[in-house]
Symmetry: C2
Subunit: 416 residues, 2 copies
Amino acid sequence: MVTGSELVRGERTDLNGPFLARSLLSVGLEPARIEVVGDDPGELETALRDALASADLVACSGGLGPTHDDRTVEIVAKVAGLELRIDEELEAQIEDVSRLVAERLKRPYADFAVGVRKQATLPSGAACLGLAGTAPGLVVDAHGTPIVVLPGPPAELQRLWPKALEVAAVRRVLDRGTPPLRRTLRFFGPGESQVAQAFQESGGDGDGLEVTICARDFEIHIDLVAEPAAEKRMAALESALGERLGRFLYSTDGRTVEELVLDRCRDRGFRMATAESCTGGLIAARLTSVPGSTDAIVGGIVAYANKVKVEQLGVAPELIDEHGAVSAQVAEAMARGARERLGVDVAVSVTGIAGPEGGTEEKPVGLVYFHAETPDGGHGSQFNFPGDRDSIRRRSVVASLHLVRRLLEQNRDGSV
Amino acid sequence: MVTGSELVRGERTDLNGPFLARSLLSVGLEPARIEVVGDDPGELETALRDALASADLVACSGGLGPTHDDRTVEIVAKVAGLELRIDEELEAQIEDVSRLVAERLKRPYADFAVGVRKQATLPSGAACLGLAGTAPGLVVDAHGTPIVVLPGPPAELQRLWPKALEVAAVRRVLDRGTPPLRRTLRFFGPGESQVAQAFQESGGDGDGLEVTICARDFEIHIDLVAEPAAEKRMAALESALGERLGRFLYSTDGRTVEELVLDRCRDRGFRMATAESCTGGLIAARLTSVPGSTDAIVGGIVAYANKVKVEQLGVAPELIDEHGAVSAQVAEAMARGARERLGVDVAVSVTGIAGPEGGTEEKPVGLVYFHAETPDGGHGSQFNFPGDRDSIRRRSVVASLHLVRRLLEQNRDGSV
């Protein structure tokens, strides 16, 4: 249960529900629902009662702050039928933290005192998980079902969550679950219907094996979750899918395409750079989001304006005049320019029309050209993506990374 | 209600719930809950019944595809007590689309036929909203409450949703709501406690005015939602907050910091570029995410490796040797280099330690230096961010954009 009016109104995307779901799944509990509710006390109470009606464990996030609309602890106490009282030891701890903050902000501590008292008020019997900022994480017993109460900011929630998994009441629930076997097959290229067909031909799921097929930015991920007894069945399905869709399969060990691109570069001691127009830095950002990427990626040029394509990447102005900035020729010149100017082995470029303006009949919104260069040669491709500006940019990032990955894998295998 | 095992298991972030919530809010309906559920038929049915128990309108997304785990239409029909039957006209339409796809994928149409029949099977009396890909959007009457059934891919959902708002059954619900007055005040700089205090001193909310305070990547957004009768009360609160927190207030009209930076550049005919190390392209990506940004941002250099800082941005190697790549001096040289090399008026740079590795006692993970340069002068800043790699990078993007914004606003006002 994730609380926050800004979340239920769609002004912010919830990260906590997905994080908690992944974590619970990995320890053998099946996430039944993620409920996002606002700060309205009535809605909060109903949602919490609905959750308690069927779940073995409830994890809540948000509403622990010092402000008036932070009501989670109060509602949890009400639903669990527990009294609220000030924990004086905790109050002293929160006061210490708040005095440091007050000092840093050059504000009197008095401004913080009310909030400190509020944050130190707990349902009786609650196990405290420690502080995240000034907010305590808690485990509360609601008539035998543990409710884990966590702060809203994702980094703070993620820090306190492992401590919740050690609390005896939570451990007792975990001991009832069995971590399932899991496997994710990642494909790039096939259509969703084609995957559905291959899945049916391979025998489908059932009998302790559950399969989810999920299309995402032109990738398709097949998620296999099996009870321990269905291990052989899972292996058989995986192998049957591999027979039918093997040429599209790029990852079976959870690695993402950006991780694979970096690893393929490392395999051959290559360094890499990007040359981006419509993606505006997203490809470089995706590659550098991987910790330790610094040994494979040196950086890139965001050549949004033509002037930058010419001056920083050495694209000939005549090429732009003749073919347009969005063309296979300019994509190739951008990749070659990045390789040369940044002194790297591998470069990938993107130029396209992300919209909503700028499309023509000949070159519509969604038309994107890609080019990758390696020491063994180069290769270009083009796509005509559906969707809005944001999804065209995201799909372009994915397509560009697969282009480099495939080129590096082909070169490695000696076949093109 | 958002369906998908990959969503409830946290493998993908839901974008549809937030989109639908924002849209409903803007037409006068208060979103009560966003429920994310898996593909399990029992869970789907319970969640749909819970939703129908209290809501005036239910919008569902996902589970309309051709694969075995797409069960939404079947469950909606069951809960609404309606028969399922094949709509032959619709089947012909879906077949036309599928034949084109089959041709493009060079696959026989027979592979698609089962999926086509499945997707053309509707609850009786359903209003069809048209196709997204091969999936029809629907409005189904569940004992007087309309259920809008939409495809899962966000771009497709967003295309069909406006059509749902025109269906008579949905219109009747909308006619009962009154669009509230809304206002978002965006602040950069104050602590959450400080804002809570200012809010209490300003009279708080209630009496038809609801206020949400939301901290996000070091920004604080105060969202005011008022019934039409509370218009004066909203204006009074806004003005009282402005008195107390005015120096941190940067936006009252919904514009984001990236939009403001672009607009401030446009005001003075400036062109801008970025020089990024630890953010790896995210600042350029954020600026170019705004449609029409091309008249203010030319691009940037992602100088992840020191070699790129030296060669592309002209940072003196001695500066790196003496102060380290993560230093105020190198940040300044990067911004000056970007301004000169890319021939722009305004440049902003970031260099820092995003972790998880690479921190030292003197320069810990989270230490980030910023520098902005304009024709009127430059300014640097530094932060020591808490959090993981991803949040350090996101906070760095926000901090860098505010640095440029403030420098451009100060220069404009003549005061520094």
